[in-house]
């Protein structure tokens, strides 16, 4: 186990350094921040001051080395736009995004697993066929469009939910959260559903496939023969075994939820990290873009690690193999 974790950690370190180079050079190639930041009326002298002020007068390799040196000390640079540490700006926005992503994940699991099992247990019924058709829609409709349609229906036509933004926040364990009040939940509902649709479809399909496979296994037949109640078979023997692939995929997908909540956040004006990223790309706020991408890389690396560990807990065979190795 320890060897396994150490090996994975070293691989992760290499990935992070490689990504920093790719991200930094990629961002460096696009546009010139000064052209976006500076007012039209500034003359060349002002322009040169601004370029020097942002450190953009230095050649690429010097900029990159400076970045690496600062990054090693935990400083990913100051935002060009707000002149505050990029990492701090992202961390400020992080609770909003995590709240949204967790809520979406919760929805996907709570709704998706029962529906998937239902579809798997009775594959030929009308209900399960409509569930599967529905899940195709979840996969194929673009988030952006669904978001706008939901907004039109629930906010404009029916007037049930607020169209955009985040509700009032309270501080829980030092984090600003909005799900503690009814108003906050009302604001959270639409963006969370919007973000969860794709994952929901995924969970349904995974669960269904797992159920179909496991239900014909010998140990299920044996349990049945032993006369165990079918609710116990489904909730214990079956559920536990289909959860392994679901947990793996969801773990990875959680990173995706956080990283790609960009679209949902932009549509619903949700003040999370994704909206910050889009705004930063529009304004060429390089330090924030780089810091964000680095953080996402880091997040994925950590999630992968956690999933591997969880996996070994759920499935003892993995643990045994690692011990032998």
């Amino acid at each position: 186990m320890t060897v396994f974790i150490i090996r994975r950690l070293m691989q992760s370190g290499v990935v992070v350094v490689l990504m920093s180079f790719i991200v930094f050079s990629g961002v460096f190639l696009v546009g010139d921040p000064v052209d976006i930041l500076i007012s039209d009326e500034a003359d060349e002298e002002d322009r040169e001051r601004a370029i020097a002020g942002l450190g953009l007068d230095k050649p690429f390799h010097i900029q990159y080395l400076l970045f690496l040196r600062n990054a090693a000390q935990g400083n990913l640079g100051d935002s060009f736009i707000f002149e505050e540490p990029a990492l701090l700006l992202i961390l400020e926005r992080m609770p909003a995004t995590f709240e949204l992503a967790l809520f979406a994940l919760l929805l996907a699991v709570v709704v998706g697993i029962p529906l998937g099992m239902l579809a798997g247990l009775r594959p030929n019924s009308v209900t399960s066929k409509s569930i599967m058709t529905g899940s195709i829609l979840g996969f194929s409709l673009p988030t952006f469009w669904v978001g706008i349609m939901m907004m039109m229906l629930f906010a404009v036509i029916l007037g049930w939910l607020p169209s955009t933004g985040r509700g009032p926040t309270t501080t829980v364990l030092g984090l600003e959260v909005s799900f503690t009040s009814w108003e906050g939940i009302r604001h959270l509902l639409m963006p969370a559903i919007n973000l969860s649709l794709f994952k929901l479809a995924l969970v349904i399909r995974l669960t269904r496939a797992g159920t179909r496979e496991v239900i014909h296994q010998d140990y299920i037949k044996f349990a049945r023969a032993k006369g165990i109640s079918s609710s116990r078979i489904i909730l214990v023997h079956l559920l536990k075994n289909i959860l392994i692939p679901v947990v793996t995929v969801l773990g990875l997908e959680f990173g995706g939820l956080v990283a790609f909540s960009v679209v949902t956040e932009t549509v619903f004006a949700w003040p999370g990290m994704g909206k910050l990223l889009i705004d930063s790309i529009g304004m060429l706020d390089r330090p924030v873009i780089v810091a964000y991408l680095m953080m996402i890389v880091f997040l994925f690396v950590v999630i992968n690690l956690v999933v591997d560990i969880l996996y070994s807990i759920l499935d003892p065979r993995v643990r045994l193999q690692e011990m032998k190795a």
């Binding site: 010139d32 039209d40 009326e41 002149e83 978001g147 004006a269 999370g272």
Partner: protein, 538 residues
Amino acid sequence: MRKITHVGVAVLTAFVVSTSAMAETVTIGLRSEPSSMDPYFHNLGPNNAMLAQIFGKLIDWGPAMDRLIPRLATSWKAINDTTWEFKLRQDVKFHDGSDFTADDFIFSFNRADGYTGGNSSFRTYTKGKTVNKIDDYTIHIVTPGPYPLMPNEMTSILVMSSEAKGSGGNENFGLKAKDFNKGLATIGTGPYKFVEWKKGDRLILEKYDGYKGPLGRPWDKMVFRFIKSEPARTAALLAGDVDMIDNVPLTDIATLKSNPNVSLSQGVSNRVIYIHLDQFRDQSPFVTDKNGNLMDKNPLKDARVRKALSMMIDRDQMVEKVMEGVALKAGQLLPEGFFARSPNLKPDPYDPEGAKKLLAEAGWGDGFGLTIHGPNDRYINDAKICEAVAQMLTRNGIPTKVETMPKNVYFKRASSGGPDKSPEFSFFLVGWGSGTGEPSSPLKSLLTTHDKSKGHGASNRGRHSNPTMDALLVKALSTVDDAARAKLLAKATEIGIGEDQGIIPLHYQVNTWATRKGLKYNARADESTRGIDLIKSN
């Protein structure tokens, strides 16, 4: 009878009490969020609009930018060739209760002038000026030579309290941008006080009871929400979550117009949309012969060719079809009503025959090929405008390709994407909003000969050059007499655009705001969205 009156009075009092007790809050959905609450951090439209409600200025523009109105100054005049005198109001207090005096202005001016860090400084307006305090309510601003634009430029300097306390440090008088963002140092004399800014979400201002000045205070509290996505902004208005939105997309205007719960307010802006033409390279990278091969000769260097291209553009169609009627045809740098326009310049009428004749005269009767470049997320319908121009030129014997890109890529290439940091494109779309409310700013930046040492032609991306026009502009910039200066500027415009066609103006942008029924937005020519301009209509 008596009893009835009593009841009436009681009801009336109850009504008055209840309305005054109910704080009136207005919520506004903005497309763009400010980048800072520090008044000198970033010279950016959304910042300037938001901050003008919190901080005072000596002088401000009227809504149409056609006249100056006094705010913290009561009067101003040039007392000799190099000195402007400003008399200040004596009854103004800052949000923290301290008095406003000349010292506060001088503090603000110096902080703006010497600002370290930040983006695009306000030194554009403070450079070369010395401020002298005569007494607590009189200041003199001295320049090396005559400086007619002094009042215009003072509309850009916000005044903060010299007693504001920040987190310390050596730079910027110990006041950091974040001290303003948190509200610590955000102390002005404007009609509204800063309450809170949650980045990416909302910014809240509250009425300042002690305000003295010409601006209205129509609301007790103003909440600005930042909704970048266009359909979401419209939906927020329709759902009643916000009372007004800015930058209404053209595609939504027709739907909103027919909605009985919504009213639209429109205003022409100081922004002209125009085309730069490469006038400095013999071999221009995006001008080709009709087979797409580069040529050794650049037709765009000939004023007759430039004129002909302008005549091939059907501006009526452009406004009607591409801009859905929401724009004004342009023939010069500023729309009607602004100072120092030329009465002789009209938008070039669509005249394909005349254009062909001119081309033949210039020796290009067979035409040539072009590529038009433009941004696709900067100006209203910018990419569609490029496509329409290309179609019109193609129809008239100039086969034109279109290439548009996001502004964060576009502007670098347009300004310095070529060899030796020269502009990369040959024929490309840009817009210009004149902050000084008269044509000297676009003339100086877009049409005078590119000269770094003089600060001329900083955005002259086509490198147009005409010494006669340069001389007229330089003369105008030191002519204090308004009428004489207006004549010089009009003459310079007539040469730069009328004779030389240094750029091809297409149209003036018209901006649209949508409010819920019962409200009205007094649109401003500087395109800014401020809560103080949103009023009730009946």
